[in-house]
Amino acid sequence: MNIKFINPQFLWLLSLISIIIILHLIRPKRILVYISTLLLWEKIIKENPSGKWFKKLPKNILLYLQILTLILLVLSLAQPQIIFKGNINLPLVLIIDCSASLAARDILPSRFENIKTEALKVLHKIPFWRPVALITAGKKIEIISSFTSRHNLIEKNIKELRVLYTKNNIESAIELVESLIPNTPKEIHIFSDGNAKFSYPPNSINNYYIHIIGKGGDNIGITRAEIIPKNNKIAELFIEISNFSDDLKKFPLEIWGNDKLWSKVEVGIKPQEVKKLVFEVPYIAYKLVIKLRIRDQLEEDNTAYLFLPILKPRILLVSPGNPFLEKALKAIPNSHIDVKSYIIQEDFLNYDFIVFDRLIPEYVFPGNYLFIGSAPKSFDFEVIGKITKTKIVSWEENSIMSLVYPLNININSSLILRSSDFKPFLYCEKGPIGFIYEKKDIFALILSFSILDTDWYFYDSFPIFIYNTIKYALSYNSQISPGESIIIRDGNPIYTIETPKGKKEYENIGGVIEFKDTFDLGFYIIKSREKEKIFAVNIFSKEESNIKPRFILKDKTKDSINEAGFINLDLSPYLLFLAFILFIIEIIIFLGGLKLK
């Protein structure tokens, strides 16, 4: 530690002390107080000698205060700097890998707990004033704490971290850290188990320190599982199991459906082998759990959760009468159809899909819709004309138009609509007549003509189009990865979510259910009135299941750590503040003295 003055020339001003002393010497020493007689005071002074040392204590206190104030002022002008050498001034960044492989227990209690301990050690070693930032590198990069000197907050945040079961993304974390407070060298510590590669920029001004935790590699995991319908009754279950250990492994594999054991088979798998298994299971809605009954170092990937959503739509047809449309809707398997010539608010909440045939409302609640004839006024569009006697000539190749071939279908009359929110998918000779309107809370398919004004209902493509539309709007991928958000359009104000941790009720404010905390493995059941959707969260990552540390990066600056930096602590503001305080004290004492006169 050294002390340096930035403006040492100001130290000459210390000579002013002599002027203060001279002024002090030439002025009356004390305040004189005239009293009628000293008779009593003389007696008191004789009887209380203790007053003597006490009275000497503050003797010349104003002089001392003036000298001290001047010294502090001069020193603050000279700007003294305390210089601490070493790495101690660099902002510190802790990047902590939260990926699934960190749950491995090759080092007890787990790799992640050890990483947290290691990070805390680094935190405890640094001086209290150093700014520290904490970043987690899961699938998404999250700045848990931005640069702060509140190390207790960082410590608390480190202790609260948990494994996210996602893939790691340290590379992105490094990119992010490189962009933080640019042109300022930083000390970056990366805590990982080394099962994924990453690199830092070659010309980086930052100092990197890599902490690799993990040594084992004994793991077998389900790296993929999928359930695909084969026909109306049977679905096929595909399972991919990977052995990342160096030993032959034999273990039982269990398939559980709705908490009941359906099947149990013995599986043998060679070292480094990837085995694919196929099973036939009934095609019904159930929660399927696959379990590998084996003890290895990462148990989380020994279980897979699957759910095959079966389309059972509750559909409302609002129409003055359209037997063709009604028939096409009723043809959808497992569907429940109601037909009305009007609609009330409750209907918006109770049905999965509503078809408005010519009876177009002015506005709609969040949900899924097919509008035939026009669109609600709330959609912000304009009718720019009307066309007659035309034909469908083309369409966009998307899943709605899959197996639909409406070429040359006659359309007697249709509106021409225009809106920036409308995405055309169906065209006649004179322009688009079919649109997709997709917002966060509303999905709608808009046909600007009436079905009865066409001959489409005579063709097979019409019921297929209707089925495709319903399926497109209501089907969803039940398989999500950890951390992926669940988003559902729904108008109900209250909904419940059952997670592996428990059940909780939420308020739906924007017409969209959005749930982000999907970091736990297992089923997530979202219920809104009669509607229910089930999602399954799994690791399914060969990268994460292969827990063997296989990537060791040399510390960039480990050898030169001692001279990597220095800190300049400018004392001038503190000295100035002290001088101000002393000045105030002096004024108080001086004014107190004046009162005596």
């Binding site: 004390r30 305040i31 107080v33 009628s36 007689t37 005071w41 009275k55």
Partner: protein, 292 residues
């Protein structure tokens, strides 16, 4: 604050009479009754004839009846000299109004009461010695002489009460009422002087005047205390504790004076300058029987 002496107090005292309780003095016959029996107009008692008694005082009627020579005794009416001594030392400049101004007003009041009662009044101010001595004959108009004199008196010098009393009492041939107006802060003390006064049969009235700042010193901190009379300086650090000690010391000093006056039959009154003189005269002195 400018302190202008005026005669307003005199108007308020018009109807009051000064009354001395234990006057035993001879000289010209005055308005007051003396406990001494002798020549007067009012019969008091009889006693046996002794050689040397004037024959005209023998009660011949008694002799005719009892054949005994008895002398008639009469209550003697005697006049009274009132002596007012006002301390005008430097220490009397303190107080608000100043102790000296307060004393001047008291002096004026007592002198007026004396003159109104057809008494002879003598006034003197003093520091180390007697100054400004003035004798006022039995006429109210003479109060203006005193008034003019009082206006010229300024505080200065050192108090020497013992010396002053000894000096003044030694000058007096007759006993009388001696009113001493002072703060009694006399470096040489006051006891000898007062006891001499009592020895010479003076009826002494001691009025001690104190300023507020002498009772509750308003200063604190590291200061020089300067004696107003001697200019002597004392370096001292005064805090709450020391103030409390001072108050105790002052209290002891006042008690000492009080006990001394009680012991020697001296009338003693203590006052502060914040108490109006009029109130002191009309209320306190009247209640305590100094004046009627």
């Amino acid at each position: 604050m400018r302190e202008e002496l005026d005669l307003s107090i005199i108007e308020k005292l018009e109807k009051l009479k000064f009354f001395a309780k234990r006057i035993k003095i001879g000289g010209t016959t005055g308005e007051r009754k003396s406990p001494k029996v002798g020549r007067g107009s009012e019969f008091a008692d009889y006693r046996n004839y002794q050689i040397g008694d004037e024959l005209r005082y023998i009660d011949w009627n008694i002799y005719a009846r009892l054949e005994k020579f008895l002398i008639k005794l009469f209550e003697e009416e005697e006049d009274l000299d009132i002596h007012i001594l006002l301390d005008s030392s430097s220490s009397m400049r303190f107080g608000s109004p100043s102790k000296l101004f307060y004393g001047k007003k008291l002096s004026l009041a007592f002198a007026y009461l004396g003159l109104s009662s057809w008494e002879k009044v003598r006034f003197a101010s003093f520091q180390e010695s007697i100054n400004n001595l003035i004798s006022l004959e039995r006429k109210r108009e003479h109060i203006f002489n005193l008034f003019n004199l009082l206006k010229t008196i300024k505080p200065s010098g050192i108090t020497d009460l013992n010396n002053v009393l000894k000096q003044y009492i030694s000058w007096q041939k007759r006993r009388g009422v001696l009113i001493i107006i002072s703060d009694f802060f006399s470096p040489s003390g006051y006891k000898e002087g007062l006891s001499l006064g009592r020895y010479k049969k003076f009826s002494i009235y001691a009025i001690q005047i104190l300023g507020e700042e002498e009772i509750n010193p308003p200063f604190k901190g590291d200061i020089w205390l300067v004696d107003s009379e001697t200019n002597e300086r004392k370096e001292i650090f005064i805090d709450e504790n020391l103030i409390e000690i001072y108050k105790k010391e002052l209290d002891n000093s006042l008690k000492e004076l009080e006990e001394f006056t009680l012991k020697y039959g001296i009338e003693y009154l203590r006052t502060v300058t914040s108490l109006p003189v009029e109130e002191l005269l009309l209320k306190y002195l009247r209640v305590s029987g100094w004046i009627t």
